[in-house]
């Protein structure tokens, strides 16, 4: 029903149905994807079943994204059972590659696009961060800069769960 509502957002003329961006994916199995990351390795979401996945949509020009990323790197390093995956919504890969190298990002980053955004109910602003539980279900969706202590608590809660 919620999905149906999401598909009926647009009413007029040549407009087409798109997601609401309100986060209906929460509570549903995370839409699967398989893409090459910036290091040339294939990243398949389904292969991370059994881990808690932090899926972060970001871009190099997004100020709030840059505040979050160093913390995600720290969490990737220090929280067992967590896997961070970055999805860059930059228009081109070159600045992303440069940032990835200079910041020594320690988790996979793949290039996103409009199709990827639509897959996740519309990523119309950045950042957007989702938490996916061990079973592959989206449990939390943060639009805009996340409250990092809250996000950390959510991760720990999911890791403590089944």
């Amino acid at each position: 029903m919620v999905l149906l509502a999401a598909l009926l957002v647009v009413q007029t003329g040549p407009a087409v149905a798109v997601g609401t961006g309100k986060g209906w994916v929460a509570g549903h199995t995370a839409p699967g994807f398989s893409r090459m990351d910036l290091a040339g390795r294939r990243v398949t979401l389904a292969s991370y079943r059994g881990k808690v996945v932090l899926l972060n949509f970001w871009a190099t020009w997004c100020g709030p994204c840059l505040i979050e990323m160093p913390r995600f790197e720290e969490w990737q390093r220090t929280i067992p059972g967590l896997q961070v995956i970055g999805i860059s919504m930059d228009d081109e890969a070159a600045p992303v590659r440069a940032a990835y190298a200079k910041l020594k990002v320690n988790y996979p980053v793949v290039m996103g696009d409009a199709a990827m955004g639509r897959l996740y109910d519309g990523v119309y602003g950045l950042p957007v961060t989702l938490l996916i539980d061990r079973a592959g279900v989206v449990r939390f969706r943060h639009r805009g800069a996340a409250d990092l202590p809250v996000l950390r608590g959510e991760i720990e809660g999911l890791l403590a769960g089944p």
């Binding site: 007029t12 798109v18 961006g21 020009w61 505040i67 600045p95 955004g117 602003g125 990092l148």
Partner: protein, 167 residues
């Protein structure tokens, strides 16, 4: 608060690491500056248009303004205002060059509305620079769509008409 301080420190480190490199967009302040570092002032309130007013304007049968998205091409392809065009990211040199090219032969009294919505209004790296560029080109009727949070929250989720594609 501790998290904020740590986060702020980290982003400053990130910016420092990238300073002097080839990632100007990454190191650029998030508000009020172009990628060359030139200050760009706030857009006058009188030049702002609220989403509800904009939607009403587009719904009328009268002559419509030229509507340009001046942010991310990826986000534009995902969803944009019906009838709008992608004109280049206002916060980047190449984007402003595209904007100038698009507007080169347009009459300077043409009504224009620009929008971005990539980020909350105060953190948008594009809208102010694009506005300043058009004013500098001599356009006399430029308005900026006031997107308080982001395009999803302030336009899509409110049910205003959108289209998708990368034109």
């Amino acid at each position: 608060m501790g998290e904020f301080r740590k986060g702020f420190g980290s982003v400053m480190i990130a910016v420092s690491l990238l300073a002097g490199g080839g990632v100007q967009a990454f190191a650029r302040p998030t508000t009020g500056a172009t990628s060359e570092g030139a200050a760009v002032g706030e857009i006058p309130k009188s030049a702002l248009i609220e989403p509800a007013e904009m939607a009403g304007l587009l719904a009328k049968g009268e002559e419509k303004p030229l509507v340009l998205q001046v942010g991310s091409r990826v986000l534009f392809a995902e969803a944009h205002i019906v009838g709008s065009e992608y004109a280049g990211a206002g916060g980047q040199d190449g984007g402003r060059a595209s904007l100038r090219l698009r507007m080169k032969d347009v009459k300077r009294n043409q009504a224009v509305v620009i929008y971005c919505g990539c980020c909350p209004w105060g953190k948008c790296p594009n809208i102010r620079a694009a506005y300043a560029e058009l004013v500098a080109m001599g356009f006399t009727s430029v308005r900026a769509l006031y997107v308080a949070e982001d395009f999803g929250t302030d336009w899509v989720a409110k049910g205003y008409p959108v289209a998708r594609g990368a034109k």
